[in-house]
C-alpha cells in the first residue's frame, strides 16, 4: 500500500504476466523467457531496494492505446516499456521527460549504448529513454535441410553474398530438399515486408527520410529491392500464405530452410534444437540478414524504458535513477531472451558470448539502423509500407504503384502533422 513509507514507482510493461511461476522469484539467473526474466528482475530490484517499491502494471502488447489514454487522462506511469520507433511520437509532443538527468545520477553515459540503441533513443540531441535491447530480423536456419541442399561449409550454413546468389542457392535448396527456401509470414504481418524493404534500401545507402515530413520509397533502389522480393515469390522460392503462427510452426517442423523473423524467437527455436526427437534437433543456426548488396546494415528496433512527464518527488526521481542503474547492470540477463544488448559492454561479456548463437548474431548490434529519430509515427509508417510492399511482393499490385502509394500515404500522414 502507498502508506508503507516506501517510495512507490509505477511501472508499466508488456511481456505478459507470469506471477504464477515467477511471483516471488528473485534469482534472475534461473528465470526463463521475457516474462520470467523481467518479473525476476523487478522482484530482485524490490528486494535490493527496501526503501523503494515498484508497482507493476502489466498491459496487453503493445500497450500504446492505454499509455495514450493514461496521458490523456493525466495519469501516466513512471516507467514504461516502449519500442524505440514510438518514442518520437510521444517525445515530439513533449509527453516524455528527457532522461539525461537520470542517466547522470545513475552514472550511465550515452556512449555506453550500442550505436543502434543510441541512435534510437536520441531525438534532436536529447535522450528520451534508457535503451534496453536491440531487436531486428534474423535468418533462422534449419541446418539439416541446408546440409541436404549442399549448403553447409565447415559446419556453417552458406549464406548468399548477393541477390543473384540468394536466388541461385534458393533454387538449389528447393531442388534438393523439395521444400521452400524461405518461410515467410506474409499474412497479417506488415512488419515482415517493411523490414525487408527498409533493410535492403538502407544497404544501398538510400535516404529513406530526407526530412521529418517525407519518405522516399519510389526510387530505383526501392524498385529493385521490391523486384527482388517479388521474384522470390514469382519463383515460389518462399512460402506464400502463412501468417506468423503458421510460419513459426512450419519452421519448427522443418518445413523450410530459412525463417526470417525477429530475435525474440531465438529462445524458442534453440529450445527445439536442444530437444531430442524434434525436427529441429541439432539443426539450428541463426544469423543477421545477409548483405545482398551495398553495405551491411539492417533495419532494427529495440525496447526501451521511457519516463512520461508528470510531477514526481525527488525520492521518486532518485528511485527511477536507481532503477536505470539496476537495469543497466542486468542488461546481460535480458539478452538470454535472444535480444541483443543495449550496452556495448555486454557484447564483449564472456557470459554473453558463450550463449548459443550469440557470436553469430552480435554484429546486429553494430550494423543495426533504426529509422531517424525525427521521424514520427514510425509504427504507422511501418504498417503502411509493410502493407504496400507485401502487395508488391506478392504481385497484388504493380511495384511502381505500390511504391508510389506507400510514399503518398506516408507523406500525407507526415504532412498532416504540425
Amino acid at each position: 500500500s502507498p502508506n508503507d513509507g516506501k517510495t512507490h514507482i509505477y511501472l508499466q510493461r508488456f511481456f505478459g504476466e507470469c506471477g504464477a511461476e515467477y511471483g516471488g522469484a528473485t534469482d534472475v539467473a534461473k528465470a526463463e523467457g521475457e516474462c520470467g526474466i523481467m518479473t525476476a528482475l523487478i522482484n530482485r530490484f524490490n528486494a535490493e531496494n527496501p526503501d523503494v517499491h515498484i508497482d507493476v502494471n502489466v498491459i496487453a502488447w503493445p500497450g500504446y492505446p492505454q499509455l495514450t489514454a493514461q496521458i490523456a487522462a493525466r495519469d501516466p506511469p513512471d516507467l514504461v516499456t516502449m519500442h524505440s520507433g514510438v518514442i518520437s511520437d510521444y517525445a515530439s509532443d513533449g509527453l516524455l521527460e528527457p532522461v539525461e538527468p537520470f542517466l547522470k545520477e545513475a552514472h550511465i553515459s550515452p556512449s555506453d549504448f550500442t550505436d543502434a540503441t543510441r541512435l534510437a533513443v536520441t531525438i534532436d540531441n536529447r535522450i528520451y529513454a534508457l535503451p534496453w535491447d536491440t531487436h531486428g530480423g534474423l535468418f533462422h536456419i534449419n541446418t539439416a535441410l541446408f546440409a541436404k541442399a549442399g549448403l553447409m561449409r565447415g559446419g556453417k550454413p552458406v549464406l548468399p553474398n548477393s541477390a543473384e546468389e540468394l536466388l541461385k542457392q534458393a533454387r538449389q535448396f528447393q531442388e534438393r530438399t523439395g521444400k521452400p527456401y524461405l518461410i515467410q509470414s506474409n499474412v497479417a504481418d506488415p512488419a515482415y515486408a517493411a523490414r525487408n524493404q527498409f533493410t535492403y534500401m538502407m544497404a544501398e545507402g538510400a535516404v529513406l527520410f530526407p526530412d521529418a515530413k517525407h519518405v522516399r520509397l519510389a526510387t530505383p533502389i526501392g524498385h529493385s529491392v521490391a523486384t527482388f522480393f517479388k521474384r522470390i515469390n514469382d519463383e515460389r522460392l518462399g512460402t506464400q500464405n502463412m501468417d506468423t503462427p503458421a510460419a513459426i510452426a512450419a519452421f519448427i517442423n522443418g518445413e523450410g530452410g530459412i525463417y526470417p523473423t525477429g530475435t525474440w524467437m531465438l529462445g524458442t527455436f534453440e529450445k527445439e534444437a536442444t530437444t531430442p526427437g524434434r525436427p529441429l534437433f541439432n539443426s539450428y543456426a541463426v544469423f543477421p540478414y545477409p548483405r545482398l548488396w551495398g553495405q551491411r546494415v539492417e533495419f532494427v528496433s529495440g525496447h526501451t524504458w521511457i519516463v512520461p512527464k508528470r510531477n514526481r518527488t525527488q525520492q521518486q526521481r532518485t528511485a527511477i535513477a536507481r532503477f536505470f542503474r539496476f537495469m543497466a547492470d542486468h542488461n546481460y540477463d535480458w539478452t538470454r531472451t535472444g535480444h541483443l544488448p543495449a550496452f556495448k559492454a555486454v557484447l564483449d561479456d564472456p557470459r554473453f558470448r558463450s550463449l548459443p548463437h550469440r557470436e553469430d548474431i552480435s554484429p546486429l548490434a553494430q550494423m543495426g539502423r533504426p529509422l531517424p529519430g525525427y521521424v514520427r509515427r514510425q509504427n504507422a509508417i511501418e504498417g503502411i509500407v509493410g502493407e504496400e510492399m507485401a502487395a508488391a511482393y506478392t504481385g497484388q499490385k504493380p511495384i511502381d504503384v505500390a511504391l508510389r502509394q506507400a510514399e503518398n500515404r506516408v507523406n500525407t500522414l507526415l504532412g498532416e502533422l504540425d
Partner: protein
Amino acid sequence: MAAQVDRARLTRAGYVALTIGAILMVSPLLWALLLSLKSNASLVGNSGAAFHPPYTLENYAAIFGNSSTMRWLLNSIIVSLCTTAGVLILASLAGYGFARLEFPFRRTLFVFVLVGLAIPSQAVILPQHQLFAWLHLHNSYPGLVLPGLVAPFGVFFMTTYMRAIPKELDEAAMLDGASRWKIFRSVILPLTIPAQSTLAVFTFLGSWNDYWWPLISATRSNMYTLTVGLAASQMNYAQTSGLGFLMAQAVFASVPIFIVYIVFQKQIVRAMAGAAVR
C-alpha cells in the same frame, strides 16, 4: 400423415445438414477445449498435438495461480452485473415511458434513441475517454460501467415488449389507485421478466466480452477486467507459444456466460416471442 403439419418434419437430408452444421459449430469449440488441456510446449509448432494425450490442467493452474486472475474475474463480474442491472433499469424505465406514457416529443425522442443503434462504438471512444478523464472516472467501476449503460437496443426491445402487454392491466392498476411508478414496478416489471432475462443475457455477454473500453479506461492492473487482464498476461504477441494457455483463458472466460445462457434459454425464446416480432 397427420397432425404436426406445422413443424415440418425434418427430412433425412435436413437431419444430415443439421448434424453437419452442429459438428461444424461445435468442433472448433471442442478443439479449443482440447488445446486448453495441452501444455504450451507440446503445442509449439504442432497444434495437432491437441488430439493426443497427455492432457494436463497446467494451463488452468496457471490461470488460477496468477494472483490477479481472481481480482480480474471479480472486476468482470462486478462490471458486467452492474452494467446489466443498469441497462435493465434504464431500458425498462424508458421502455415503459415510450410504450405507455404520453409526453411531449415522445416519437421524436424515440427516433432519437434509435439513432443510437447506428453509432459505432469505436467512433466515440476517444471523445468518451476525454469525457471520463474530465470527470476523473477512469480506473473506477463507474468508469467501466457507465458507457455500457447506453443501450439503445435495450430501450427498443423493452418498448416493443411492453407495448405487447394488455393496456387494461395498467388501467386496472390505475383504478386500484396505483401511481405510475407503482404500476411500473408492481404490474409491468414482473410481467417483463422473460424480456429482462433476454436483455440481461445479451447485455452481460456484451459487457463481459468488451475489450476496447476497459483497455483504455482501466489502465491499472487492479481495475482490469478479465478480458483485458488475460490479454495482458499474453507473453507473446504472436500468440503462438502460449496457445494452450490462451485457450484455457478463452474457456475460462466463456464458461460463466455459457452458464448464464443455459439457465435463461427458455426465458429468452419466450421473451423474443413477446417483443421483437410484433
